[in-house]
Symmetry: none
Subunit: 201 residues, 2 copies
């Protein structure tokens, strides 16, 4: 069910409030934030949001409103940007309009996410194989051991495990027949880290 502008504003505020503080705002706090003079107004808004299924609340209990969408998180449709292997087809952002639907939770965090088709066997020992689709959270930094999509020298896009030691970075394939790459950190750009994997037989 669709929301009005005000309802959306208030809903967003409540979500942020809950996310930030871990508890719900009181009607007065909401009223204060929107500079409303009467809590009755807020109360009505919340009733609307409840009846539209966006919020849940217990009757006459302080700070009992909560966003209902947490579990329901109507799931993500993310773009498939290209193929990753040893070529460099990542630059083309939003090239085709291909996209894929992934389970929520996999791309759940507000951080941007995208997907890439995997070509080649370079991560075979991590159980990632040719034809798989990896779901990638768009980030610019990674922690040791994470599987990342990296650009080396601004051109080659690869899927590797990431290890940083001092000012140097090792990009390690999970395939004993292939060699790790070790370069100064300045030559490596992280595009994201792998969050999920989808395979179709």
């Amino acid at each position: 069910m669709a929301l009005t502008r005000r309802q959306r504003e208030i809903y967003d505020y409540i979500c942020r409030f809950v996310a930030d503080s871990g508890y719900s705002p009181s009607l007065e706090e909401i009223a204060a934030h929107f500079e409303l003079a009467s809590v009755a107004t807020v109360h009505k808004h919340i009733q609307h949001l409840v009846s539209k299924g966006y919020l849940r609340k217990a009757w006459n209990r302080s700070r009992s409103v909560e966003p209902v969408s947490v579990g329901t998180a109507d799931f993500a449709e993310i773009p498939v940007l290209g193929t990753v292997a040893a070529g460099s087809p990542i630059e083309a952002i939003e090239q085709g309009d291909e996209s894929i639907q992934v389970p929520p939770g996999m791309a759940g965090w507000r951080g941007e996410a995208f997907a890439l088709r995997v070509r080649g066997e370079s991560m075979i020992e991590d159980q990632i194989c040719d034809g798989d689709i990896v779901v990638v959270e768009s980030r610019e930094e990674a922690r040791n051991g994470e599987t990342v999509v990296a650009l080396v020298d601004g051109s080659e896009a690869t899927l590797k495990r990431f290890y940083r030691r001092g000012s140097r970075v090792r990009l390690v394939p999970a395939n004993r027949h292939m060699e790790p790459i070790e370069v100064p950190a300045s030559q490596v750009m992280i595009r994201g880290v792998v969050r999920g994997l989808i395979r179709n037989y």
Copy 2:
């Protein structure tokens, strides 16, 4: 049903508006954007779009139009029936109410589908590892080489590759440290074949 040029424009505008702001435009806002002097015009367009199935709206409710495709976003939610390895936790049909959402196309065939959590390393060489979730199409027969969920002697549920030779069936793990099982076909029940795989990091 096909749209006219104007209808398309208005439909696109509404979609973008909803995507951007999280709520629907009012008739006046739409009129303003297209420099129309009367909301009646917009109203008529919207009626057409509704009757052609592109929009939904509540009667006489502010900002209640919404693109049908967004809300309907069809994709499959299938039950996670249990864990598969060497135990036998498959019998319990619909045990918990756990479920997972998978990309359409993976469970697309209206043939029943379900999901299982994988425990153990018995399919490691097929790039299926501990903790993965496999999406299984419920079937009672399999072709050679397919990865199946099978019950041996009515009790043990396992994930193996399936090969039939005459009246005997070989169930082959993709792990060189484990032994194939070879038994008469009558002792094996196929529960389904693996269609997809989902992994969360």
